[in-house]
């Protein structure tokens, strides 16, 4: 499956997927944000593509910019396909921007704000709202509220705010990968009432953590046994 990063004149940016020979045709072929990040690392775009479109990929993942070899291997392990063709691949990984804070992920939260105390560890928020209801984005020093069509990539139709399961959170993790550098964050915090599918330790699958770690992002599940 071919992926391209697109910045549109109507205010949207995102990943557009084009199926290739044995790939399934995705229900929606583009993951949009109503914002245009200043900078997005190609590796994080690749990880976002794998999170949003991985279930349709059979042939391989082919990007418009080189992906580092470590991320390519992590994608193969995450999708459970060791022979997946990923290209182009570079052995020189571009450095990730330093991010020291936590990024709390929210979905359709009516009000998200982080009260960062003077000496406390800096925490930002990313509130992903539905782009069929809202248009545009609202950026502040403590976080970003952005409209996106990520809700269409959820496996389950939710009855309320925030994904109930980790599987449901994957499209929002994809948006977090895209926005993390813009929000100077390196640790993603997800609140889920159910963290299925679980590994043996009752935690997020190791392959998911590894996928994010390959792009210098950590994953914390609030309510789970332990973090990264």
């Amino acid at each position: 499956m071919k992926f391209a990063w697109v910045d549109e004149r109507n205010g949207r940016s995102g990943i557009v997927a084009e199926p290739e020979e044995y790939d399934g045709v995705p229900w929606f072929n583009s993951l949009w944000l109503d914002a245009s990040p200043e900078s997005v690392h190609p590796d994080r775009i690749a990880v976002a593509a794998a999170l949003a479109f991985g279930q349709y990929v059979e042939t391989g993942l082919h990007f418009d910019r080189p992906v580092s070899v470590g991320v390519a291997n992590a994608i193969r392990r995450f999708l459970g396909r060791p022979n997946l063709d990923i290209s182009p691949v570079t052995y020189k990984q571009r450095l990730f921007a330093t991010g020291s804070g936590r990024l709390v992920l929210g979905v359709d939260e009516p009000h998200m704000q982080q009260d960062n105390g003077f000496l406390a560890e800096w925490t930002s928020f990313l509130n992903v709202v539905r782009s069929d209801v809202f248009t545009g984005a609202l950026y502040s020093s403590s976080g970003l509220t952005v409209a996106s069509n990520a809700f269409l990539f959820e496996d389950l139709v939710r009855s309320g705010p925030s994904p109930r399961s980790l599987v449901g959170a994957l499209p929002y993790l994809a948006t977090a990968c895209i926005c993390a550098e813009w929000l100077a964050s390196s640790a993603l915090v997800v609140h889920c009432s159910e963290v299925a599918p679980l590994d043996a330790a009752g935690d997020a699958p190791a392959s998911l953590r590894e996928l994010l770690r390959a792009t210098a992002l950590s994953l914390f599940l609030e309510g789970a046994a332990r973090g990264d």
Binding site: R9, N10, V25, F28
Partner: protein
């Protein structure tokens, strides 16, 4: 309690040797490795179905499905008939000459069951010449030897074995039953599962093997007879030209008994009793019968919807009543209650044209979430028809026009409408709002290139009554769409939208002819051509007030001439006899209320008959003398020139009291002789040569002038 079946393996079959089939069946059983397996042998057209049923149906784990077939064999139809009777969670199609290594189907099942969107294939390996089922039975299953001597066919085609989920089968509606014999039906099906979201997974496991048993004709070019080559060309044309995902829209031989309808037509109604019956009738008149109608009564002062629905006596209609919650909420409730894959919207004061559902489903291809069409405004007072065409809708076109396609032309995936419902806070323009929201999130829609709806203009239209409020909401919807774009970008995108081309629907230059017969007060005369319904049953169904002339069939078709009420007549026939093929084929020029003479009726019928051979045709009728149709045929048979049953194309008695027949003759001179012979026995016989007569024109004129008296 009956155990659930894990895997159903379906094999199409027709007189190809039960011995070889038995070897294949044994291999399949061994390959299931503990799964709860069902094998369905779909015998499509074997000479002795009963013997096959006795033999194969008695084998363990085998379900035998026998169907008569008097035409060319169709692998698509054979497999679909088997799939309709399969109960496994995972379905497999394979052929009667394939054998599998032990455990193969266990592995295949695990892939399909664990990954919801996978279509699984196995590369076929051909065993050498002479390694037929007898040789295999004699040697025993030496899989290592088979692997060494076989030839890998490679990843070509998809037919040797294909495995998929039940949901995939229903989504695609199986193999395309227009394809006959074999060739391309497997590739077409596999590609459509991809378009439906499935990955194509070629099993890459050394323990998974499929071998094709040699038999005479396996790779013999001589077996590709002209008929088979023609069938492959026919099938190939469908493969290359038809982009739709769902097939078998009008007739689906492989429809599972418990399958949900393909389309749910949702009609919200409130205090508009006078229009609802016409709206429902227009749905029942559809060429495609796989639908349900969900009527939501939004708190009408006096409930009428249930009584109107019951008057149609059709189990596909459901009525649900709400306290007055508003039209948006009523439509959302209709979506929630619906069971179909697609929601077709119909306003309660509008009419669907008979081809709407079929053409709209056929327009939905990969990456598209719904379809729409053009519509016609109809003023019942003046009779005026106004066309409303559409462009190919996109964000750019919406930037420029701000508008959505006509609401009564929408057909949208139910799953999308559940995720993005109508905004229940909006009192007007909720359709425009919804469509623009869908466009903005990336939904795509295809124009079906047809007029699909007739929109009645009247005093109680909501858009007429609240036009200022409607405009205000429409403006806000447009602002929502364009909000995030810079001003310069808006102009740029608008100009792209302005440059988009208008789609010209079928019948654009002849809207009255296209739409006229289906208008509620139409007095147009139409010819209905009906196949698959015995004439006495058709006669019993049709009201005498509607039918100007009925001509009884010689062969499998009946004709009826209708005076108005085409839509309600279609609704009646298609609702009660869903397998009858009904075609509206012609409008007659005369709009008079006078009875139609038999000869005039035959002229019109002759124009619509498909078969036009090289021989001239005569339309012969007797109007003033009552003669039973059988007697006329007997008289004709006495003529030396009309001695074969094939000479008589069709005919019968009409309600006007006349009797008519269409006859083919060898030449116009022969035709004249036939008339002269008939007139001796039946005075008052009149005739006309059919317009397709192939002869010297001067001879036609001379004979016509000389013979008429």
């Amino acid at each position: 309690m009956r155990e659930e079946v894990d895997l159903s393996v379906v094999i199409g079959f027709r007189d190809w040797g039960t011995d070889r089939l038995t070897v294949a069946l044994n291999s399949i059983r061994d390959a299931a490795d503990g799964l709860n397996l069902e094998i369905v042998v779909s015998d499509y057209g074997s000479v002795d179905l009963e013997s096959n049923r006795e033999l194969l149906g008695s084998l363990p784990g085998v379900k035998y499905v026998g169907t008569e077939c008097d035409g060319p064999w169709s692998r698509s139809r054979a497999l679909n008939l088997g799939l309709a009777n399969a109960s496994g969670k995972v379905l497999v199609c394979t052929d009667a000459d394939m054998i599998f290594t032990p455990g193969t189907f266990r592995r295949v099942f695990e892939v399909v069951a664990s990954e919801r969107n996978a279509t699984v294939l196995i590369e076929c390996r051909d065993l050498p010449v002479g390694w037929d089922h007898n040789a295999i039975r004699a040697r025993g299953a030496d899989w290592i030897e088979f692997d060494q001597v076989s030839t890998l066919r490679g990843r070509w085609g998809m037919g040797g074995m294909v495995a998929f989920s039940r949901a995939t089968y229903v989504r695609t509606r199986g193999l395309d039953e227009r394809m006959h014999t074999y060739g391309c039906e497997d590739i077409d099906f596999g590609e459509r599962t991809q378009q439906a979201g499935n990955r194509i997974v070629w099993m890459d496991d050394p323990e998974v093997r499929m071998y094709h048993m040699w038999h005479p004709g396996s790779h013999d070019e001589a077996s590709r007879t002209p008929e088979v080559r023609a069938a492959i060309e026919h099938n190939r044309a469908i493969l290359y030209n038809d982009r739709s995902i769902a097939r078998n829209l009008v007739n689906w031989g492989g429809r599972p008994v418990d399958a949900a309808p393909l389309v749910s037509v949702v009609i919200a109604t409130r205090n508009r009793r006078e229009f609802l019956a016409d709206a429902i009738a227009s749905v029942l008149a559809q060429t495609m019968s796989d639908f349900e109608i969900v009527v939501v009564d939004d708190g009408s002062r006096e409930p009428y919807a249930q009584a109107i629905a019951e008057g149609f006596s059709d189990s596909r209609i459901r009525v649900h009543s709400l306290d007055h919650v508003g039209i948006a909420a009523a439509r959302n409730e209709g979506t929630r209650l619906a069971r179909g894959r697609y929601i077709a919207v119909l306003d309660d004061d509008d009419i669907m044209l008979p081809w709407r559902l079929e053409r709209q489903v056929a327009a939905i291809h990969a990456g598209v979430h719904g379809s729409y069409g053009a519509y016609v405004n109809y003023d019942p007072v003046t009779g005026a028809l106004t066309r409303f065409n559409e462009k190919n809708v996109s964000i750019a076109s919406a930037y420029q026009s701000g508008g959505a396609p006509g609401h009564s032309t929408w057909m949208i995936e139910r799953s999308l409408m559940l995720r993005i419902p109508y905004d229940e806070a909006i009192r007007t323009g909720e359709d425009n709002n919804l469509f623009l929201r869908m466009l903005r999130v990336g939904a795509r829609f295809a124009h079906c290139a047809e007029f699909v709806a007739v929109r009645r203009t009247h005093a109680h239209q909501i858009t007429k009554n609240d036009s200022r409020l409607h405009e205000a909401f429409a403006t806000r919807n447009r602002y929502y769409l364009r909000f995030a774009a810079h001003r310069d970008a808006r102009s740029e995108i608008e100009s792209v939208g302005r440059a988009a081309e208008w789609v010209s629907p079928r019948g654009n230059d002849g809207i009255e002819e296209l739409v006229g017969p289906y208008l509620p007060a139409s007095e147009n005369r139409m010819i209905l051509r009906v196949a698959g319904l015995p004439t006495p049953e058709l006669n019993a169904l049709l009201s005498p007030e509607l039918v100007a002339c009925r001509v009884e069939p010689m062969f499998a078709e009946s004709f009826a001439l209708l005076f108005g009420a085409t839509l309600s007549t279609l609704a009646l026939i298609r609702s009660k006899h869903r397998h009858a093929e009904v075609e509206v084929v012609s409008a007659m020029e005369a709009h008079s209320a006078q009875p139609v003479p038999t000869l005039v009726a035959l002229q019109h019928i002759d124009r619509v008959l498909d078969v036009h051979g090289p021989r001239p045709r005569i339309l012969i009728a007797v109007e003033e003398v009552t003669i039973p149709f059988e007697d006329m045929v007997a008289q004709l048979a006495k003529s030396r020139r009309v001695w074969q049953a094939d000479n008589i194309v069709t005919g019968g008695s009409s309600d006007t009291g006349g009797t008519g027949v269409i006859v083919e003759v060898e030449s116009l001179r022969d035709g004249l002789a036939v008339i002269r012979d008939l007139r001796k026995a039946v005075p008052g016989t009149s005739y006309v040569f059919a317009q397709e007569a192939r002869a010297d024109d001067s001879l036609v004129n001379a004979l016509s002038q000389g013979a008429r008296s």
